[in-house]
C-alpha cells in the first residue's frame, strides 16, 4: 500500500471512532441530569424556561437532541462554560496553548531522557546502572503525580527557593517587562518580543510542572526502550556489525538504537494520553492556566458543558496524536505498510 492511501484509510477509520466518542459524551451529558439546568437562572419565569427548552430542543426525543447537539458541535456551538464565563470554544482556544506548551516540553524531555536511560540500561544489563534505572522506572509509574508535584514545590520553592511554584510567569516582572502574546506559547512570544528577561522567567516557570508531568512518561519510555534495545542487541546484524570491527559506539548508535526506536514510537503516542490526563492534575497544582485547570474548576462547579467539551477536545487530540505516531511508525518500519 502506498503511504498516501495508508494515511487516507487511517483518516477514514477515525470518523466512526470520533462519532462513537460523541455519542458516549452526549449520553454522559444526559445521565448527568437536565441539560437545561445550565441555562436556567433563579429569577426566570415559566414561559422563559419553556423558551429555553424550545431554543435548545431539550423537549425533543433523545436522538433528535443528539442530532442538534452534533450539528452544534460542527458549527462551533459547544455550549456555555460557566467556569470560564465564555463559550466553551473560546475557552478552549484560550487555554489550549498553555497546555500544549507544557505537554510538548514534557514529551520532549521524556523522549530524550527515556531513550537515553533505556539505551544505557540495556547496554549495561544487570550492572548497577541498569538496576538503578529499573527501580527508577518502576517508581516512575508508581508515583502519584499530584504528590510528586507538591514535593517538588516543597523542595525547590519553599526550601531552596530556586524556582517559582505557580503560574506561567511572574506577574510583577511582567508589569516592568511586558511582551506581546502573539501565539499564546510564551516561549515563542517572549522570543518574538525580544524580551530575554521574560524568556528566562517563562523557562523557570516551566521547569517544575514539566518535570512533574514528564516523570511517569520517562519511566514508560525507559522500560520499552530497554526491552526493545535488549531484543535488538541479540540480533544477527548486530553481531555482524561487531564482527566487522565497528567501534561499539557506532554499533549501538547506528545499528541497534535506530531499530530499537521503532517500537518506542508507538509508546510515545500512547503515553500522550497519560500526559493529557496528568496535565489535569499538574495544572491545578501549579495554577497553570490551561485546559486541565479549566476542567477541574468546571468539575467543582458542576459545569457539564465545559467538562464534555474538554473530553471531546482531548479525545480528538489523542486520536490525532496516535494517528501521527502510526504514520511515523509506518514511515520508519516499511513492513507495516504491507499489512
Amino acid at each position: 500500500m502506498k503511504m498516501g492511501t495508508f494515511i487516507i484509510r487511517r483518516l477514514l477509520l477515525l470518523i466512526p471512532v470520533l462519532l462513537g466518542v460523541s455519542i458516549l459524551v452526549f449520553s454522559l451529558t444526559r445521565i448527568g441530569g437536565d441539560p437545561a439546568a445550565a441555562y436556567i437562572r433563579e429569577n426566570m419565569t415559566e414561559p422563559q424556561i419553556a423558551a429555553i427548552y424550545e431554543k435548545y430542543h431539550f423537549n425533543e426525543a433523545e436522538h433528535i437532541q443528539y442530532w442538534y447537539w452534533l450539528t452544534g458541535i460542527f458549527q462551533g456551538d459547544w455550549g456555555w462554560s460557566k467556569a470560564a464565563h465564555s463559550p466553551v470554544t473560546t475557552a478552549i482556544t484560550e487555554y489550549f496553548p498553555a497546555t500544549f506548551e507544557l505537554t510538548l516540553i514534557s514529551i520532549i524531555i521524556a523522549v530524550f531522557v527515556g531513550i537515553g536511560l533505556g539505551t544505557i540500561s540495556a547496554v549495561k544489563k544487570d550492572k548497577p546502572v541498569d538496576q538503578a534505572t529499573r527501580v527508577m522506572a518502576l517508581s516512575g509509574v508508581s508515583l502519584p503525580i499530584f504528590w510528586l508535584a507538591l514535593i517538588l514545590q516543597y523542595i525547590f520553592f519553599l526550601q531552596l527557593n530556586w524556582l517559582p511554584a505557580i503560574n506561567r510567569y511572574d506577574t510583577i516582572l511582567y508589569v516592568n517587562h511586558p511582551f506581546t502574546k502573539y501565539t499564546g506559547f510564551y516561549l515563542i512570544d517572549t522570543l518574538l518580543s525580544g524580551n530575554s528577561t521574560m524568556f528566562v522567567d517563562v523557562v523557570k516557570h516551566l521547569i517544575l510542572p514539566s518535570l512533574t508531568l514528564s516523570f511517569g512518561t520517562i519511566a514508560i519510555i525507559t522500560r520499552i526502550m530497554r526491552s526493545s534495545m535488549l531484543e535488538v542487541l541479540g540480533q544477527e546484524y548486530v553481531k555482524t556489525a561487531r564482527s566487522k570491527g565497528l567501534p561499539e559506539k557506532v554499533v549501538i548508535r547506528k545499528h541497534a538504537r535506530r531499530n530499537a526506536l521503532i517500537p518506542t514510537t508507538t509508546v510515545v503516542g500512547l503515553s500522550f494520553g497519560g500526559l493529557l490526563g496528568g496535565a489535569v492534575l499538574t495544572e491545578s497544582i501549579f495554577s497553570w492556566p490551561g485546559l486541565g485547570r479549566w476542567s477541574t474548576s468546571a468539575i467543582l462547579t458542576n459545569d457539564s458543558a465545559s467538562i464534555l467539551g474538554f473530553v471531546l477536545i482531548v479525545a480528538i487530540i489523542y486520536v490525532i496524536a496516535n494517528l501521527v505516531v502510526d504514520i511515523l511508525y509506518a514511515y520508519l518500519d516499511p513492513r507495516v505498510r504491507l499489512g
Binding site: 466512526p16 471512532v17 470520533l18 462513537g20 466518542v21 455519542i23 458516549l24 459524551v25 454522559l28 451529558t29 445521565i31 448527568g32 441530569g33 529499573r134 527501580v135 518502576l138 517508581s139 509509574v141 508508581s142 508515583l143 502519584p144 503525580i145 499530584f146 504528590w147 507538591l150 514535593i151 514545590q153 516543597y154 520553592f157 519553599l158 511554584a165 494520553g273 497519560g274 493529557l276 490526563g277 496528568g278 489535569v280 492534575l281 491545578s284 497544582i285 476542567s295 477541574t296 468539575i299 467543582l300 458542576n302 457539564s304 467538562i307 464534555l308 474538554f310 473530553v311 482531548v314 479525545a315 489523542y318 486520536v319
Partner: protein, 312 residues
C-alpha cells in the same frame, strides 16, 4: 476406592504441579518480586489489623472517618500522634492505617469487575467472530480513544461525589484493555487441537468457550491484573485528590493529600514554634507510592515467570 481416585487425580495433576513448583522456585529467586510481595502482604496485614493498630473511637459510628481534635496541625510524635495531625487535627496515622482498607477495597473490586466484563466480552468477540466481534471491538475502540483519567473524570463528574461512584467510573475505564487481551488470547487458543477435540465430541459452544478456552487464556491477564491493583489505586487517588469521591476527613490517601495540601506550603504553630506541616502530605502520598510500587514489582516478577520466552 477414594484413595485410588485421589491417585488418579494426583497423576493427572503432576505436570501442572511441577510447573507450579518451578514457577514458585523462579519467583523466590527474583529479589524485586519478593520485595513486591512483602509490600503487598504488609498492606494486607495493616488492613486486616486496622482495629488493633488504630482502635477507632467507640462513639464514632463509621471507623472510616478519621478522629480529630479540632486543633492546629501537630508534628509527628506530639501528644501521642505518631505521624502528627492534619486538617482539623485529624490523626494522620489513623488515616493511613484505615486508608489501606479503602485502597484494597477499591483495587480488588474495580479490577475484578473490569476483568470479568473484559473476559466475557472479549472472549465472546474472539470466539464467535463476525458481526458481534466487529461491534464489540469498535465499542472498545471508542472507550480506548479517551485517555483513562479523563474518561473517568467525565463519568465521575456526572455522578454524585462518592467512593462507590469513583469505582464505577474506574470500571468504565478499565474493562476495554482486558477485552482486547482476552480476545487476542481466545483467537490464538481456539485453533488448538484440544478445542477441536472438544468440538468433535459434541461439546456445546458456550462450554468450549468457558471451560476450555477461557481458563487457558488467563495467565497474561493475571499479570495485567496484578499491576492494575496498584494503578487503579493511583488513578482513584488522583480522582479523589481532584475532589471526586469521599468527603474531607475520610480515610482515603488521595483525599488526605488534598486535605493537607492547603497547609503544605504554609506554616502551623506548635508549642509556640512556627513550623511547616510537611507531614500532612508526605505520609499519605508515601503510602500510595508504596502500595502501587508493591503491586508493580509483584506484577513485573510474575510476568518474568509466566512468560516462557522470558524464562530461559
Amino acid at each position: 476406592m477414594v484413595k485410588r481416585r485421589l491417585g488418579v487425580i494426583k497423576k493427572a495433576m503432576a505436570p501442572r504441579l511441577r510447573e507450579w513448583r518451578y514457577s514458585l522456585f523462579l519467583f523466590r529467586k527474583s529479589m524485586l518480586a519478593m520485595v513486591g510481595l512483602a509490600i503487598v502482604l504488609t498492606m494486607v496485614f495493616i488492613a486486616i489489623l486496622a482495629p488493633v493498630l488504630a482502635p477507632p473511637d467507640p462513639l464514632q459510628s463509621d471507623p472510616m472517618i478519621i478522629p480529630k481534635d479540632f486543633h492546629q496541625p501537630k508534628p509527628p510524635g506530639a501528644d501521642g500522634h505518631l505521624l502528627g495531625t492534619g486538617k482539623l487535627g485529624a490523626d494522620i496515622y489513623y488515616g493511613i492505617v484505615w486508608g489501606s482498607r479503602t485502597s484494597i477495597y477499591i483495587s480488588v473490586f474495580v479490577v475484578l469487575v473490569a476483568t470479568i466484563i473484559g473476559i466475557v466480552l472479549g472472549s465472546v468477540a474472539g470466539y464467535y467472530g463476525g458481526a458481534i466481534d466487529e461491534l464489540l471491538m469498535r465499542i472498545t475502540d471508542i472507550f480506548l480513544s479517551i485517555p483513562g483519567l479523563i474518561l473517568a473524570m467525565a463519568v465521575a463528574a456526572v455522578l454524585a461525589r462518592s467512593l462507590e461512584n469513583i469505582m464505577l467510573a474506574l470500571i468504565v475505564v478499565w474493562w476495554p484493555p482486558y477485552a482486547r487481551i482476552a480476545r487476542g488470547q481466545v483467537l490464538s487458543i481456539k485453533e488448538n487441537t484440544y478445542v477441536e477435540a472438544a468440538r468433535a465430541v459434541g461439546a456445546k459452544r458456550s462450554r468450549i468457550l468457558f471451560r476450555h478456552i477461557v481458563p487457558n487464556s488467563l495467565s497474561p491477564m493475571i499479570v495485567n491484573a496484578t499491576m492494575d491493583f496498584g494503578v487503579v489505586v493511583l488513578v482513584a487517588a488522583g480522582l479523589s485528590y481532584i475532589g471526586f469521591g469521599p468527603p474531607s476527613g475520610y480515610a482515603e490517601w488521595g483525599r488526605m493529600v488534598s486535605d493537607g495540601q492547603q497547609w503544605f506550603l504554609g506554616t502551623t504553630m506548635y508549642n509556640g514554634q512556627f513550623m511547616n506541616p510537611w507531614w500532612m502530605v508526605t505520609f499519605p502520598g508515601l503510602m500510595i507510592f508504596l502500595f502501587v510500587m508493591g503491586f508493580n514489582l509483584l506484577g513485573d516478577g510474575l510476568r518474568d515467570i509466566m512468560d516462557p520466552r522470558l524464562r530461559r
